[in-house]
Each structure stands twice: as structure tokens, then as C-alpha cells.
């Protein structure tokens, strides 16, 4: 009895007629029952009759008789003048050697506050999702307005050079826009690169490759996901390199192909843009302005990646490589060579 009375959680010990043998102080406190009112009295007589609930009575009777073993039972306790409490009831039949002396141990857990906090959390989560959607909608609208302004300005630009710069700026904005559209579609923070690069390259083809110019822009590899913050930089790098190839590698309606490829090895990745155009100019000054653009170099530095520009079998290949972990099969040596080449190029 002393054990029951000192229980920190509300606890009752009942006899075979559902009379109270002992009640914990925590039970009396929690449900506002006078200590004198409890021992010896029927459970049903407690308080203002709220413990007389037929479902509770039949549960306890069934547990006493051994007809049912009920681990948990949930009930709403409606105390006169008090708020409804949501209780979880555990009832355990205790059988002594004297079979007439059956006891029932009943423990109560008040789940009202936990349920309310769970509901508040659910409500907050729902509110956040609505807010996130609203923010994404606003970002989409803003990007659309910025892109439209650039496009209209390009349309009205008098010189071909200015028009070209404005169209490039439009493509850069659309690179971020394509990512935003993909993120809105999935609701995740990770980006599947193949889908993103395909959508990006489709858009670049539609707006930058003139009608009738037989140029293919294809995406290969890229079967992996990266964090949204990394993918926005990768998208801008791809945009920049593809625009460079479109501008310089295929003069006079020359036909050809530009391939964007991304490979993953654990945390390491490499991105390449290869064209089969006319190849790099021989004048080093032209290489720097034509290919090693400041945007690509800056973004690669931000991603802790290196940039390598080289002649492909036909045309030009640009590799951007991020080596977070040096692998044992010779890739480490390659990575060092790439860093050295990149430093040499930067110091020119």
C-alpha cells in the first residue's frame, strides 16, 4: 500500500468490487480528490461521478474477471467545472494465493498536454508548409519578372553586343529559375542533377540555339543528388560553359554537339562540358577571356573545385573537379595535377 501511495504517477489499487484499497497522493492531487474520500469507497463514488463512466467500469470489470487483458485504454475524464482531461489507463490484475483476494492495479497517464503540444506542432508544421509555398511562389514571380525585364531589354537593345550580354544575363537568371522550379516540384532540399541539367539545357537550347542551326546539347551521367546550394552553383557553371561553347566553338552555323556530363564518386564529383567545335584559340589572351570566365572560376572556388581547360579530340573540354576525399586508385595524383594546372592558369 505504501508503494502505491507514494507512486509519482497517478495509481490506484482496487479490490474485486472496484472499491479503493489505496490511492497514490499523485492521483488525489491530479484529480482534485480529498484524501479522506478515497480509501474504502467505490471508485464510482469519487469526485462528481466522473469515475462512473460505463466504459471504464466495464473495462475494469473485464480485467478483474480475467476475461480481457487490456494494456492501455484511452478515456476522456469530464470533471464538473473542470476541463476535459485525456487519460491513458493501464489496468493490471494481481492474483494472490488466496483467489478471493483479487486486486486491480490501475495507472493513469494524463496525455492532455502531450496531445495539445502534438497538435500545436502539427499546426505549426502545416503553417510552415503554407508559408514555404507562399515564399516559393513569390520567388518564382520575382524571377519571372527579372527574366522578363532582361528579355525585353535584350529585344530593344540597339547593338548586337549589348543584346548578347542581356541574353546571357537572361540565361543566368533562367538557370537559377530552372532550379527553383524543380525544388518547388519536389518540396525537397536535394536536387537530382540529371533532371535539373536536362531541364536547364532544354531551356538554353530553346532560347540560345537559332532555328536551323544543327547543334545538339546533351546531358550524360549526372545520376546523383546534391544539396540545393551546390546545385545552384553547378547550374550557373554549366550555363556559363555552354554559352561559351555556343558563342565560340561553332561559328558560321557549324554543326556539332555539346555534352554536359557529371560523375560522382562518393563525396567527390566532376563536371565536364565538352564540345566538338573549332577548338581553343592559340592566343592565350583569347583563352582567358573566351573560356576561363571569372564566373566559372569564382563559383568553382566557392565549391572548392578546380577548373581545367584542355583541347578535346575535336574541340574543347572544360573539367570542374571537386575532390573532397583522395581515393587510392591514382585519382589523388590526378587531383594534385589538376590543382597545379589550375594554379598555373590563374597566375598567368
Amino acid at each position: 500500500m505504501a508503494v502505491v501511495e507514494s507512486s509519482p504517477g497517478p495509481l490506484l489499487l482496487l479490490d474485486g468490487d472496484l472499491n479503493i484499497v489505496a490511492a497514490s497522493l499523485s492521483f488525489l492531487d491530479a484529480f482534485g480528490i480529498e484524501p479522506a474520500a478515497a480509501p474504502g469507497n467505490p471508485l464510482a463514488s469519487l469526485g462528481g461521478g466522473e469515475w462512473r463512466a460505463p466504459q471504464l467500469q466495464s473495462l475494469l470489470t473485464a480485467t478483474l474477471s480475467g476475461a480481457a487483458k487490456i494494456e492501455t485504454y484511452e478515456m476522456d475524464l469530464r470533471r464538473p467545472g473542470g476541463e476535459v482531461r485525456h487519460l491513458i489507463v493501464h489496468a493490471q490484475r494481481l492474483v494472490y494465493l488466496d483467489v478471493d483476494n483479487v486486486r486491480l492495479l490501475v495507472a493513469f497517464t494524463d496525455a492532455t498536454d502531450a496531445r495539445a503540444s502534438e497538435k500545436a506542432k502539427d499546426d505549426a508544421l502545416r503553417r510552415n508548409l503554407v508559408l514555404l509555398q507562399e515564399v516559393r511562389h513569390r520567388v518564382a514571380n520575382s524571377l519571372q519578372i527579372i527574366a522578363s525585364v532582361l528579355l525585353q531589354n535584350a529585344r530593344k537593345a540597339a547593338s548586337a553586343e549589348t543584346r548578347g550580354h542581356l541574353k546571357d544575363a537572361h540565361s543566368r537568371v533562367m538557370s537559377v529559375a530552372a532550379l527553383e522550379r524543380q525544388l518547388a516540384g519536389t518540396g525537397e532540399d536535394h536536387v537530382e542533377l540529371y533532371a535539373y541539367f536536362t531541364s536547364l539545357c532544354d531551356s538554353i537550347s530553346a532560347s540560345m540555339i537559332p532555328d536551323g542551326h544543327q547543334l545538339a546539347l546533351v546531358v550524360e551521367g549526372a545520376r546523383g543528388t546534391v544539396d540545393a546550394t551546390v546545385s545552384v552553383s553547378l547550374g550557373l557553371i554549366v550555363t556559363e560553359l555552354v554559352i561559351n561553347a555556343l558563342k565560340h566553338a561553332f561559328p558560321d552555323q557549324r554543326t556539332g554537339k555539346i555534352t554536359v556530363e557529371c560523375q560522382f564518386r562518393g563525396p567527390n564529383w566532376s563536371l565536364s562540358v565538352t564540345d566538338d567545335g573549332i577548338g581553343m584559340p592559340t592566343d592565350p589572351a583569347e583563352i582567358r577571356t573566351g573560356l576561363g570566365t571569372s564566373i566559372v572560376e569564382a563559383l568553382a572556388r566557392q565549391l572548392q573545385a578546380t577548373v581545367k581547360v584542355e583541347s578535346a579530340r575535336a574541340g574543347t573540354r572544360v573539367d570542374v573537379t571537386h575532390t573532397q576525399v583522395s581515393l587510392v586508385d591514382g585519382q589523388a595524383a590526378d587531383a594534385e595535377a589538376t590543382v597545379a594546372a589550375s594554379r598555373a592558369a590563374q597566375s598567368k
Binding site: Q133, R136, H137, V139, A140, N141, L143, Q144, I145, A147, S148, V149, L151, Q152, R155, M174, A177, A178, E180, R181, A184, G185, A195, T198, S199, D202, S203, S205, A206, S207, I209, P210, D211
Partner: protein, 150 residues
């Protein structure tokens, strides 16, 4: 710019968009591609007035319109009059939930060049011609719940 002037064959389009700059950019791109674009509006009543005089082949409708006007309600009216609708809104989940009132959705932020391709694709699709590749970002609603493009 990829265009398909022969398919456009002076098809008439209605753009209902409350943001004037994207609407103008879209109009200019579509006109360059050979389409006839009706006067721009961002209001439901004006759009319904306009289609009384001239029935477009396709209506490009943003979901958020001027004031409290709603593009989905407008799309229902247009569809009831036999005018196919494509949503051009960043509210992708609302567009998807209203898939029975439109034939597709190209969500913001879209590339105007992609929209030109999407219009060509949808006009061909309406005629049963499925030979064109589906443009980037375009979702086509065919009444089936899972036909949306990724």
C-alpha cells in the same frame, strides 16, 4: 529562338496575367513565333468579355489575377466554353489540383522560349499530333492523376 511558324499558322492566343512585364515578354515572344495574341489582361471579367468576340485556340492563364480574381475560376468558365487552358502560375499545387479545368501547366519561373515550344506542343496535342517532344517543365493534364511530367 526555336519557333514553329507553320504550326502556329496564325493560331490565336489569350494571355491572362496580372504581372504586366512577364505578360509583355510572353506576348512579344509568341508574336515573333507567328501567333496572334489578343489584348493583354489580368482581369477575369475582361478576359470573358474578350472571348465573347473572339474565341482563342488556347488561353494562357495565371492563377493569381487582378484583385481577388482567380485564374482557376476563369479556367472553369473558359473550359466550359470549349477554350483550352494552360496554367502559367508558380502555384503548382493549386494548378495540379485544378487539372480537370486545364490541359496543362508550365509553372513560373518559365523560360519564354519554353513557353513558345509548350504552346506549339499543346496545339498539336489538341489535334492528336504527339510527334513533338514535350518541352522542359510542361505538365500535361490528361485527366489521369499521375501523368504529370517531373
Amino acid at each position: 529562338m526555336a519557333t514553329n511558324a507553320s504550326d502556329a499558322s496564325r493560331a490565336t492566343l489569350l494571355i491572362v496575367e496580372d504581372e504586366v512585364l512577364p505578360a509583355m515578354a510572353l506576348r512579344d515572344e509568341l508574336e515573333d513565333a507567328g501567333y496572334r495574341v489578343m489584348d493583354l489582361t489580368g482581369r477575369q471579367a475582361e478576359a470573358l468579355d474578350a472571348v465573347r468576340d473572339c474565341k482563342p485556340d488556347l488561353a494562357l492563364v495565371n492563377i493569381k489575377l487582378h484583385g481577388r480574381d482567380d485564374g482557376i475560376a476563369l479556367a472553369e468558365s473558359l473550359t466550359a466554353q470549349g477554350i483550352p487552358v494552360v496554367f502559367i502560375s508558380g502555384q503548382t499545387s493549386r494548378a495540379r489540383s485544378a487539372r480537370t479545368t486545364a490541359i496543362g501547366s508550365l509553372p513560373k519561373p518559365y523560360n519564354a522560349a519554353d513557353m513558345v515550344l509548350a504552346v506549339g506542343y499543346l496545339l498539336a496535342h489538341l489535334k492528336g499530333d504527339e510527334s513533338q517532344p514535350r518541352p522542359a517543365g510542361l505538365e500535361v493534364f490528361d485527366g489521369e492523376p499521375d501523368t504529370a511530367a517531373a
